[in-house]
Symmetry: C2
Subunit: 748 residues, 2 copies
């Protein structure tokens, strides 16, 4: 067996964000490329050490999980073989870890963990395949707690299973500053947590993305003699998730795609924050899911019916062409004599008296946060077993690699997230002689170039592929029967699209999903986009029709405040390229920003290729594209534009220069990148001493005062747009060369 | 019959926005109160003139539709009595008006009108009850084109029905600057259009709101001997609307509420922009709607099966306890020999050649935009008939008023939108001695005070009533069997909640709906909120947990960029009150802003009542709450805060003053209102000469540079939040008195 084949490929991939909590005063965004270390594949070779090492939970978290323990994985997956009394005890351990941690924090949600402890136990103790000492092992089963408020369930399970991210100390620090056990599951804080949930419905849509990613990779890489990609995706969602539109969108797609390895548990407890779900939620969920193309199973006793739960999972696994919803009827706050089955147990600590009463009721004599020895001992097998599962897979991969070296190499690239060397050379290049074109079309050239060199590149549009120009010409559609393809058809489901892309991006580091709609419809998917930013999911948002320039469709379709709204959002790059070169530059930044999603605002209308634009400039966010002043950094006036209005700034500069002014034109393609540059650089582009600054952008002027200063002028649109041909609207709203010239003259 | 009873109550309510299109350079928002004329009821008395007057389409549009024509309304509603050949001709008129207008504009969506013309004809010619000369007649049937891109269908129907808002000239100006026929239906441009649609799924959710409003008013005001409120709500939605999550949310509620008078036509044409719906949308829609509690009917031949459509409507009306979905299978672009049943007919003009071919194919010898005389003559009856329907209702109302004067007076108030005189006196008052409280609790005091004096005040939360503090204590729940109540339980469905409130607000001017969730979850409903702003729907968004101050729930729940994102949005007031007085002031502004929605950002944590806050101050958006300088408008430093951070500014001022500084403290509760004030006022609060300005707000600093200037300091949070107790997070993020003091000293 070659030493290069026994892989824990993901071990080199674990960065820690500097954007989260570490220091509130640190830069709000990461630089691309420079600040990010790209792992080299040489670091991925395994050693033969049998002892798994621990994961440093709050520092670099670079894993060294190297083990060749050979305990058979089957032992872990066997269903129904565990002594029921011990299961009861394990389940109650989960319940009391949750109760006690919430009680200590005096804040949190004990109700869900108390009700869902049985399904949680069965999943993590009997069903799921994972390696607690390498939470990033590629072929692990994924678990998503879509009802993220119940996060103590997951922390308790990770703790019992032996994940180093959730030690006893971490349970004691539940919901405290700097802990790895925050108030909702956050993948960037807690290894073992796959995605960031809490905003309801996001998690189940992430799970659809995770399952779609598995199906795609399996179809691309599995061979009749080697199922190298083969894991399940499990999720728990509650009534809240079910009510959210995003879950219906995502589950409709899951049914359409036939994601047979997605198994979702619906915690059917009939209680939400406002009380009994009867007050607002009386639809027939089972029938709805059947209509969406799911297999549906009802577990009537989720509180103690372990065998029912086990049987349901077995049945779900047997249905290979449909995702399965297991409706598990539970009692929220099960075990609490006075608060169970009521909203009062949903989102508050039980209180000392009720904690005591619950201990009495469930016969739990232990101290807070205690794990009984027999339970501890029972769960302890997951450390060697997990190592064995991973080792087994490594051996499998080794054989695969020998037989299918090309596929193995490609899969490795996806698993590691390493970008193929020289990938950026594939980006198209342009000169000022190139034909004028809309940046949405130029974007399509980039997409089609990138997909040829980046194996994990894939994506699609929310039913606007031919308007967003997002079709990959060398690939077919990702569909139920062709999951190996890379054009994803999301339908008119923007919100699920964003969340599914988060799931894909967080499945494996080499995935770079893009998704598209009209820029204004980011309003439909903003919650998912914010999760991309928070969860550090590298999703590329291809947003076309980026201004009044879309014309006749009118104000419902014309973004105004959207550029500002994303510039204000932490850890997301809002890019508005002006031509072909800048579009290529924007993609370069987006690809290299491993922990930061990017929004590309692209034009519907044709734009010329401008003199002076550059990829290097784009990487700095704002840069000089022309200047006819003396070189002393003191032009008479600085004109600043973005996207389609950079051309207007250039034309205005021409006129002003003819009239004898010295004029600098600055492209301000990405504010976040610009403000991350050195003070010296920023001063070199926008010197404080030059107070005559004019900005032009076909969007709100909100925020521009910071750029143009109190003596400068910001030209934009602070009302809604209008339905008319684009040229007419530009004229009527005063987004014109004349307006820029007039403004410039008035202050210089 | 008393002259006071023959009412066209809504006639006094039609204002024209100055924010739309009129002048892009005009102020971006309307002032409340001052800029808005509240109608007096004396203007509502009808004359006895039989001739309806016309509606000025582009000026004030104040209606004078006064008629007592007595033609029986039944004649209009009768189904199936019209000669089929004439119906064919009318249907083809609708098709060709659409084809020709799109062709002339060389832009638009002919496919839907060509397919939906039969159901459109039957609705407007045979089924719906309306008065074309008074589009605002209160008891009209409502129609919503949820698939708004097909707006030429609606414009053609309004034109044929005799609405003065869509004359032949307007059809010729389809999608042109300043026309009343914009690219998507806009209620503020085109009388006869109820709501603004285009962003998919919004319309069907609006329709749920309209139907809920009807059900509520009917339950409150109808008597066994007088059904004074009694209309249907019709909608047409397409595959796109069906895929959007918002429609599932809204339709789940419609089923839960048993909205029997909501009848939605699903244009089942199997084509969306990306092609056949099979590529992304294969769920069983019928079964899903049945699961949502709807009655479902399938019309298999929507292209020519007039009787099928008629029968379906009759059946739908007979089902009184459930909304009905009529799935109408149609051919997109019906009649176009080469483009029908393909995506190419969805969103582009057919082209001259195909227009000719379609004329040939459907046997249409007429010039573009021609309405044949017999069709014109057939439709002409709607003008007298509509007047008769309204007159009949007026007579009914007159009788009602005699018998039930109290109820009639209340209903009149709702219909007119006139605020009861002195309503604002109901707002609670506070002193600095009042107990510290969270603004979410103070908000609840306002809600409960207002509901007692404003008959059209109602609302609720997306399953967070006990956290948002939105329960109306003197009312029960609006439910299927208690629709007269005013607490609406939206479930965890933020997006539908916003859109349903838009429907309620636009149903009748006196409705003032509020809705609530955590501020961060505006991300889920932003598309609906933007429609509130664009469509001038007075919805009050009660958004609590407005900062890191919510504590342990962590960054998924902590708004950062949200204040900025709404400040950047046109025509919406983003208010962040600091204490009880300011909360009351914010509600005063919200109630008086008839054409502008308001977002209230409210704290979870307790705040003291501050010296110097005032309702008058809030109405100006930004104002001085204290200043120990000489009165020459030149303090050493100006501290500016909003909401929960105003207290911090006050405390910092105390310290600085003790150290000898002259300090002004400014509450900046609503930026939009402040910037709408005179330059003189603005200078009096934030003099340019005082460069030492420090702002503090527990949110992004994005946008604050405009306020504090280039020498000032903005204290805020430009990264995501964290999970920990609130006090700890404030400290770690530097949102502290010390930070303000230090910043102030560094620049003054």
């Amino acid at each position: 067996m070659a030493s290069s084949s026994s892989l824990t490929l993901s071990q080199a991939l674990i960065y820690r964000s500097t954007t989260h909590n570490a220091s509130p005063s640190s830069d709000r965004i990461l630089l691309p490329a420079a600040a990010i270390s790209i792992p080299t594949f040489s670091g991925l070779k395994s050693s033969s050490s049998a002892a798994p090492s621990s994961i440093p939970t709050r520092s670099s978290r670079r894993l060294n999980s190297r083990c060749t323990s050979t305990r058979a994985s089957a032992a872990v997956e066997t269903i129904g073989k565990t002594d029921t009394e011990l299961v009861d005890k394990s389940v109650n351990t989960i319940r009391f870890l949750s109760i006690d941690a919430v009680e200590k924090a005096n804040s949190g949600h004990p109700g869900l963990p108390m009700g869902c402890a049985p399904m949680g136990h069965i999943l993590y103790d009997e069903v799921m395949r994972y390696n607690p000492k390498n939470p990033y092992w590629f072929n692990r089963d994924r678990f998503v707690l879509s009802a993220g408020h119940g996060c103590m369930l997951q922390y308790a399970l990770l703790h019992l299973a032996g994940y180093d991210s959730v030690k006893e100390e971490d349970l004691k620090n539940f919901r405290q500053w700097g802990s790895s056990t925050p108030g909702h599951p956050e993948n960037f804080e807690t290894p073992g947590v796959e995605v960031t949930t809490g905003p309801l419905g996001q998690g189940i849509a992430n799970a659809v993305g995770l399952a779609a990613a598995e199906k795609h990779l399996a179809a691309r890489f599995n061979k009749p003699d080697a199922e190298i990609v083969d894991h399940y995706t499990y999720a728990i969602l509650g009534d809240g998730c079910q009510m959210e539109g995003i879950s219906n969108e995502a589950c409709s797609l899951a049914g359409h795609w036939g994601l047979g390895k997605l198994i979702a548990f619906y915690d059917d407890n009939h209680i939400s924050i406002d009380g009994d779900t009867d007050i607002a939620f009386t639809e027939n969920v089972d029938a709805r899911f059947q209509a969406l193309g799911w297999h549906v199973i009802w577990v009537k006793n989720g509180n103690t019916g372990y065998d029912e739960i086990r049987a349901a999972i077995q049945e779900a696994k047997a249905v290979k062409d449909k995702p399965t919803l297991i409706k598990v009827t539970t009692t929220i706050g099960f075990g609490s004599p006075n608060k169970s089955n009521s909203y009062s147990v949903h989102g508050s600590a039980l209180g000392a008296k009720e904690v005591d009463a619950t201990r009495q009721n469930l016969g739990w004599p232990y101290e807070p946060l205690h794990v009984p020895e027999d339970v501890k001992s029972h769960w302890s097998r997951h450390t060697p077993a997990g190592a064995a599962i991973e080792a087994e897979w490594n051996a499998k991969f080794s054989a695969y690699e020998k037989k299918y070296p090309e596929e193995a190499a490609e899969l490795k690239t996806i698993i590691s997230g390493e970008l193929p060397s020289g990938w950026e050379k594939a980006l198209p290049t342009y000169t000022t002689e190139s034909a004028a074109d809309a940046t949405r079309n130029l974007s399509q050239q980039c997409l089609n170039a990138l997909v040829k060199v980046i194996p994990g590149f894939l994506g699609g549009s929310a039913d606007l592929a031919s308007s967003n120009m997002t079709l990959l010409k060398t690939f077919g559609d990702f569909q139920k029967s062709t999951p190996e393809e890379r054009n994803i058809r999301f339908g008119v489901r923007e919100h699920a699209m964003g969340a599914i892309c988060n799931g894909i991006a967080l499945h494996t580091p080499g995935f770079i999903p893009y998704c598209a709609t009209f820029f204004v419809f980011t309003d439909y998917m903003r919650a998912a986009m914010r999760i991309s930013a928070l969860a550090e999911a590298r999703v590329i948002y291809v947003m076309t029709h980026d201004s009044i320039g879309l014309g006749e469709d009118g104000p419902t379709h014309q973004p105004i405040e959207h550029l500002a709204s994303f510039r204000a959002m932490p850890n997301i790059f809002m890019m508005r390229p002006a031509d072909g070169t800048e579009t290529a530059g924007a993609y370069k930044v987006a690809i290299e920003s491993r922990k930061t999603p990017t929004v590309l605002a692209l034009s519907r209308q044709k734009l010329p290729h401008l003199d002076g634009t550059s990829i290097e400039g784009v990487e700095k966010g704002g840069y000089i594209i022309s200047d006819n002043s003396s070189g002393k950094n003191n032009p008479d006036v600085i004109l600043i534009g973005t996207g389609s209005e950079l051309e207007i700034a250039v034309k205005a500069a021409d006129i002003l220069r003819k009239e004898g002014k010295t004029v600098r034109v600055v492209s301000f393609v990405c504010w976040e990148l610009f403000f991350a540059q050195s003070d010296e650089y920023k001063e070199s582009v926008l010197p404080k001493a030059v107070e005559a600054k004019v900005s032009i952008e076909a969007g709100t002027t909100f925020g521009w005062a910071k750029i143009v200063g109190s003596k400068g002028k910001a030209i934009g649109i602070d009302s809604f747009g209008a339905s008319a041909p684009a040229g007419k609207i530009y004229e009527e709203f005063g987004i014109t060369v004349e307006a820029v010239v007039t403004a410039a003259k008035s202050i210089s």
